[in-house]
């Protein structure tokens, strides 16, 4: 599961003039040849900084994304669904572990990333700031949020940074189950009793607006974005990801006789592009900056887990341990 929608803000490292031109040329040539970059290679500061930011946000999204589904484990209808929901949540937390390690190879410690998450300094996917009211909400998350995540992750797995690609390969393999599990759960509700259909339609109506913001606002095509695309940090534009998602999943929603709560949603057969009502980006900004229905709860739960486990970690710590960043 992954929050896409990376808004690549310009940073003070934008100026490539400060980089060694010979090393920069060698770095770019390596990427152009299709080779991966490994942790000890020389890399421009902009590359390092944007990758840390992107992988760290991805890791936070996994760990926070496990919360809305996690709360449904005890209330999942039936033993098999409980087991499957548990396995999925366990996968998501495992993905966070893989991603934190990949980000760590770039020089930011896991301690620092977790502190920044709890203090609200680094972001996670905005969709997880919305509540899962019913079991049907949990099903829509399992199916459509994971579907969005897969679109994003498949693109990013082809990126240039070795440790991130390795982590994503494993993650994508595990996500295949999430997507099928989510689809199965939604189909079960949609082809069930009138009450079940009503529940799944209501959940879809609640989740559609956040889903449409999942990939982030349209990219401003700047030299900054072009640089990141040339370096294979950003692999597809936010709009390309959104179009691909609509292409793959809107027909699957419609074939179940469910409706999408956007009267303007249709595929323009001439352009081949989906047309839709522009998502409410003001709300998106407001929620991502802290003012959403669940922001406080998500961080408070995370914070409590950290605080309550602190004594265990202190008691287990080997006094002779030294910090060494992971190798790959």
């Amino acid at each position: 599961m992954y929050g896409g929608g990376n808004v690549f803000e310009a940073t003070k490292f934008d100026d490539l003039q400060t980089e060694d031109p010979a090393k920069l040329a060698e770095f770019e040539a390596r990427i152009a040849r299709g080779e991966k970059i490994e942790p000890n290679d020389w890399m421009p500061q902009l590359y390092r900084k944007q990758l840390i930011r992107m992988i760290e946000q991805h890791a936070h999204s996994e760990i926070i994304g496990a919360l809305p589904e996690g709360t449904w484990i005890t209330r999942a209808p039936g033993f098999r669904r409980k087991m499957a929901q548990m396995a999925k949540v366990q996968d998501e937390v495992g993905h966070a572990q893989l991603l934190y390690s990949a980000a760590e190879t770039l020089g930011k410690t896991r301690e620092q990333m977790l502190t920044d998450l709890i203090n609200g300094k680094s972001k996670y996917s905005n969709v997880f700031n919305y509540p899962a009211f019913t079991w049907a909400d949990s099903n829509i998350i399992s199916w459509l949020i994971d579907a969005g995540a897969i679109v994003n992750q498949m693109a990013n797995a082809k990126g240039s940074y070795g440790p991130y690609s390795r982590a994503l390969e494993r993650i994508c393999a595990e996500e295949a189950f999430h997507l099928k599990y989510g689809h199965d759960a939604v189909v079960h509700m949609a082809t069930g009793t009138p009450k079940q259909r009503e529940m799944i339609q209501a959940a879809l109506n609640r989740w559609w607006p956040p889903i449409m913001t999942f990939f982030g606002p349209s990219d401003k095509m700047s030299t900054h974005t072009e640089t990141l695309m040339r370096w294979k940090v950003k692999m597809a534009s936010n709009d390309e990801c959104r179009q691909q998602f609509l292409d793959m999943y809107v027909p699957k929603i419609w074939e179940l006789g469910l409706t999408v709560p956007d009267p303007n949603l249709k595929k323009n057969m001439e352009t081949g592009q989906w047309e839709y009502t522009e998502p409410d980006w003001d709300e998106f900004k407001r929620v991502i900056n802290g003012d959403g229905p669940c922001n406080a709860e998500r961080l408070a739960v995370r914070r409590t887990a950290e605080e309550r486990g602190a004594w265990v970690r202190r008691a287990l710590l080997n006094p002779k341990a030294k910090y060494v960043k992971p190798l790959a």
Binding site: S101, F177, K180
Partner: protein, 211 residues
């Protein structure tokens, strides 16, 4: 006011709605790192799967087993503390790093030769794979031995060298720990078959896309 949630268990925690920023965590709050290598099937070479954070080797083994063998076939697992692994420079794809590096004189030697495990990375972005074991009195000598023993053929982008005594290896007699119970089909994509339900629903309701 304490935080109220849709989940009663969260509400019962009585968490404050707002809390002051936390202090930066102490160093190694998340423990040191270990690197894990799994064996996919009987007779296959151990391959790098990724790191884990743990307070000691045994816990690292447990974490790695959970993290890396939970979902895919695995019949063996090796663990080595990251700081015990020596890493050569990285060459480009298609190159052989053994031919490009000058091995330095060792700064320390053991009195007797001991065993070292050698791992090769064949292509950037792929995973290091166990090439074999050599006997040597230093990391540098181990690297030279490795070059002669299995470094001549094909591209090798990077080499990891670690003393065998620093690798915790799952034991032959514990093989049964890798046996997964077959009732875990619910976490395989293949266990979910929805097409029949969808087809039946479509036939009964003639659903079509809105125009």
């Amino acid at each position: 006011m304490s935080l109220t949630s849709l989940d009663p268990r969260v509400t019962r925690l009585n968490l404050p709605e707002e809390a002051p920023a936390i202090e930066p965590k102490p160093e190694l709050d998340q423990f040191e790192t270990y690197e894990a290598f799994h064996q996919k099937k009987e007779g296959a070479a151990h391959t790098y799967v990724g790191p884990v954070h743990a307070p000691n080797e045994d816990v690292a083994f447990l974490f790695a087993k959970e993290q890396y063998s939970r979902r895919f076939p695995c019949v063996g697992l090796w663990i080595a503390r990251t700081e015990h692994i020596q890493v050569t420079p990285y060459a480009g794809d298609g190159e052989n790093v053994y031919e490009m590096m000058r091995v330095k004189e060792p700064t320390e030697r053991s009195e007797e030769a001991e065993a070292y495990e050698i791992f090769h990375l064949k292509k950037r972005g792929k995973a290091h794979t166990h090439a074999g074991r050599v006997m040597a009195t230093s990391y540098q000598e181990a690297l030279q031995e490795a070059r002669q023993a299995f470094g001549e053929k094909g591209p090798i982008v990077n080499v990891w060298v670690v003393k065998s005594k620093h690798v915790l290896q799952s034991a032959e007699e514990d093989k049964d720990m890798w046996t997964t119970i077959p009732e875990k089909k619910y976490r395989e994509a293949i266990a979910y078959k929805v097409m029949d339900k969808i087809t039946k629903y479509k036939e009964e309701h003639k659903t079509t896309a809105p125009q």
